[in-house]
């Protein structure tokens, strides 16, 4: 079911992004007097199509992984004499430049609009107060300690933990020191901690940026009492006679005080007979049970079949909401989009220089999982996710690779400088190289995506 829902939200997200991208080309083309023949969302076989009064054939096609705007062009088909001045290839270079650039720009504008919505609706997430920090970790060595509140990262203010993650992502693959401004509990003034990044490594298979530095959020320290709320029918737990409200005291002789530790122990002991000591109606009892096994995320782990009471927590202590007025949100959205564009550029540069591994490239499957995951968390997260992918799509399309919009822009720029277009031969060769580059990127991304599934 989760796969289906991922696919569903993936198609929705991609549909919005592609429609906007193509709409950018479409709108500018028509404004600048180029005749548009087809506006297609998706490619392949047509599912629905309609030729409107304006002469444009609008269509939705079966493969929702892209789309296109087909313009009148002598290189792609016969153009009648009277339509010649409306053909794309007859237009001056600046017009063609504007039409091609409009796609990525539309994606950036969409991102601004969506982030604006996000800020207006308000986003609630974990605040920046950290939990217990391992003293030997990078953050611990710099002096970060429990209950510290992170105020800024490298001079950029942060309100939510996700802002911290984003700011840290910018430094991936770098070795220079990181400045973390924190407020110690009970103080009003802040202090700056220097994090040494020379030994910083992030596992590219399962990137956990905070964990790799040793930063933990305070929610990770919440203790859940090992008291059973529910026993699932037909599981090892129900067969062994475990009952709701049993308090688990020890597991194989190990004292248990936190549900999370208990889960860890059970996961390790798949298909093993174990003894659990419980307290029921103020009496201590021993229960013998054979741990079962299941595969929640691909890996086979032990499983018992019980769930705990949700701890009563004071949400204000752990969560913050960022919400703004109309004007303020808009400028925040512009700022955020600009930041995401530069972040994309920086990460791409590091990918080329080898500072981050090509294993960190993600493809369509990762995007689908992101789409599904955020959509299930709530509308505002989904919108925020679409905005981020929109920036990415716009950015990737601007790369000077023939086949992508950026490649056309490159050719047009050369044409503007040289005064005449590049020869067909060179353009065609460029296209071949472009196809190869795009395919290599896609192949690596898809390989990584599938690898992460196992």
């Amino acid at each position: 079911m989760e796969v289906l829902s991922n696919i569903f939200y993936f198609i929705i997200a991609l549909g919005i992004l592609v429609t906007f991208h193509e709409w950018g080309h479409f709108w500018v083309a028509r404004k600048l007097g180029v005749k548009v023949l087809t506006f297609s969302v998706g490619f392949g076989k047509s599912i629905w199509q309609k030729t409107a009064k304006d002469g444009v054939c609008y269509r939705i096609a079966a493969i929702p992984l892209g789309g296109y705007v087909k313009m009148l062009d002598e290189r792609e088909g016969e153009v009648s004499e009277k339509d010649l001045d409306q053909a794309f290839n007859r237009k001056p270079v600046w017009v063609r430049f504007a039409i091609v650039a409009a796609g990525p720009i539309a994606n950036f504008l969409l991102a601004i609009f969506l982030y604006w919505l996000v800020f207006l609706m308000g986003i609630t997430d974990r605040n920046t107060i950290v939990g217990a920090i391992e003293p030997t970790s990078i953050a611990g060595q710099a002096g970060l300690a429990e209950k510290d509140e992170i105020v800024s990262v490298d001079g950029e203010g942060v309100i939510l933990m996700q802002d911290v993650v984003e700011s840290l992502a910018r430094r991936l693959g770098e070795k220079s020191n990181l400045a973390l401004e924190v407020r110690k509990p009970g103080y009003t003034q802040t202090q700056i901690l220097k994090l040494e990044l020379s030994n910083w490594t992030v596992d590219s298979d399962k990137p956990d940026i905070l964990g790799s530095l040793g930063i933990r959020h305070s929610t990770e320290d919440i203790i859940i009492e090992p008291k059973i709320r529910e026993v699932t029918e037909g599981t090892p737990a129900s067969k062994s006679g475990l009952m709701p409200d049993d308090l688990i005291k020890s597991y194989q002789g190990t004292k248990v005080t936190n549900w999370i530790d208990l889960v860890e122990l059970i996961r390790r002991d798949k298909n093993k007979q174990v003894t659990i000591e419980i307290e029921r109606n103020d009496e201590l009892k021993s229960v013998s049970v054979v741990i079962g096994s299941h595969k929640p995320d691909g890996e086979e782990v032990g499983f018992l079949g019980v769930s705990p009471y949700r701890p009563q927590i004071d949400a204000d202590k752990y969560y913050s909401t960022r919400i703004g007025g109309v004007g303020e949100s808009f400028s925040l959205a512009v700022d955020k989009t600009a930041k995401m564009i530069t972040l994309s550029a920086e990460l791409f540069k590091k990918l080329l220089t080898g500072d981050i591994s090509p294993k960190s490239l993600s493809g369509p499957i990762a995007i689908a999982e992101g789409a599904g995951g955020t959509a299930r968390s709530g509308l505002v997260y989904f919108i925020s996710f679409i905005a981020m992918i929109s920036v990415n799509l716009g950015f990737i399309n601007l790369l000077p690779i023939p086949l992508l919009d950026g490649g056309h822009l490159l050719f047009f720029s050369i044409e503007a400088i040289k005064g005449k277009p590049l020869s067909e031969k060179v353009q065609e060769m460029g296209l071949q190289v472009g196809v190869l580059l795009v395919f290599m990127m896609m192949a690596i991304a898809i390989f990584n995506d599938i690898s992460r599934q196992f």
């Binding site: 296109y68 086949l403 031969k425 071949q432 896609m442 192949a443 898809i446 390989f447 599938i450 196992f454």
Partner: protein, 292 residues
């Protein structure tokens, strides 16, 4: 046309990656069996067979052979023979591989001597028999490459299969580029008027380049660089001949693309013509010299 080609390739890319790298050997082998079945259908059409019954008969015959090889030898992990490359033992898959290689050499001979004789190419019996030798060898070779190091590193064989396809692709693309830039002397004016000797040289060069890049990335142990380079040159040359052979068949059978299953790419045979010629020799030479 180009757009359609790219679209098809983009849609197929995840499938190919999944097939090469992530499915267990048995699934991979079944998929290859199905693909070879498709190729056999297209091959039958090229021999000039017109009726569906005969086409189906030919494709089922070849698939039956593949199935028989599998039934007779069991575990794919020990293809082409348990002792290879330490000693040569005539297990069935090995026999099929060698028969395929002999058929490749016969084809090369035919291309060089009879390429201008349409009459010869219309000889459907000879081409049909060549197919019976070549197509099972393709099946055995692809599985043998995929199973290399299977138990030690699950992904490795997939990398090797991909590497072979990249070598072929390099010979093709290098030829396209240098042919466009410097092409003058026609290679086979009757069979394939667009191919030139300048193109072939470009193809060989790019193929060697890709071969060495692959050797570095995949960590081949190469003791004699000269030998390795020569093998690469041979494989690229064979790849060109494989392409020519199919072109000649198509010209006589008067077919442009051998199928239309892959929009923009023609059929499976159009994509695999060079592979049929290269795969068995690629596998046996690379394992014999201990490069894998």
């Amino acid at each position: 046309m180009l757009k359609q080609r790219i679209t098809t390739a983009l849609v197929l890319l995840p499938v190919v990656i999944l097939l090469f790298f992530f499915v267990p050997l048995n699934f991979f082998s079944i998929a290859i069996g199905i693909i070879v079945f498709m190729v056999a259908i297209e091959w039958a059409r090229l021999t000039g067979v017109k009726t569906i019954t005969l086409t189906a008969f030919y494709a089922i015959l070849i698939s039956g052979l593949n199935f028989l090889i599998w039934q007779q030898t069991g575990d794919f992990k020990f293809w082409p023979s348990l002792s290879w490359p330490n000693a040569l033992a005539w297990d069935l898959p090995m026999l099929v591989l060698v028969a395929g290689i002999i058929a490749v050499f016969i084809s090369i001979f035919i291309v060089f001597t009879y390429s201008t004789l349409p009459k010869w190419w219309a000889n459907s019996w000879a081409i049909g028999v060549l197919g019976i030798l070549l197509l099972p060898a393709l099946f055995v070779a692809l599985i043998s490459i995929r199973k290399t190091g299977y138990l030690v590193d699950f992904h490795r064989g997939g990398g090797l299969v991909l590497f072979m396809f990249l070598l072929i692709w390099a010979a093709d693309t290098g030829a396209y580029f240098s042919g466009k830039a410097f092409g003058k002397t026609k290679l086979a004016p009757v069979v394939s008027p667009n191919k030139t000797w300048e193109g072939v040289i470009g193809g060989l060069l790019l193929s060697v380049l890709v071969g060495w890049a692959g050797a570095l990335i995949l960590g081949f142990e190469i003791g004699e660089p000269l030998l390795y380079t020569s093998v690469l040159l041979c494989l690229a040359g064979i790849s060109v001949v494989g392409d020519l052979f199919e072109s000649a068949m198509k010209r006589v059978a008067n077919i442009k693309d051998s199928g239309n299953l892959l929009p923009g790419h023609g059929g499976f045979l159009d994509r695999l013509d060079s592979t049929i010629a290269v795969a068995p020799i690629f596998f046996l030479s690379f394992t014999y010299f201990g490069w894998f």
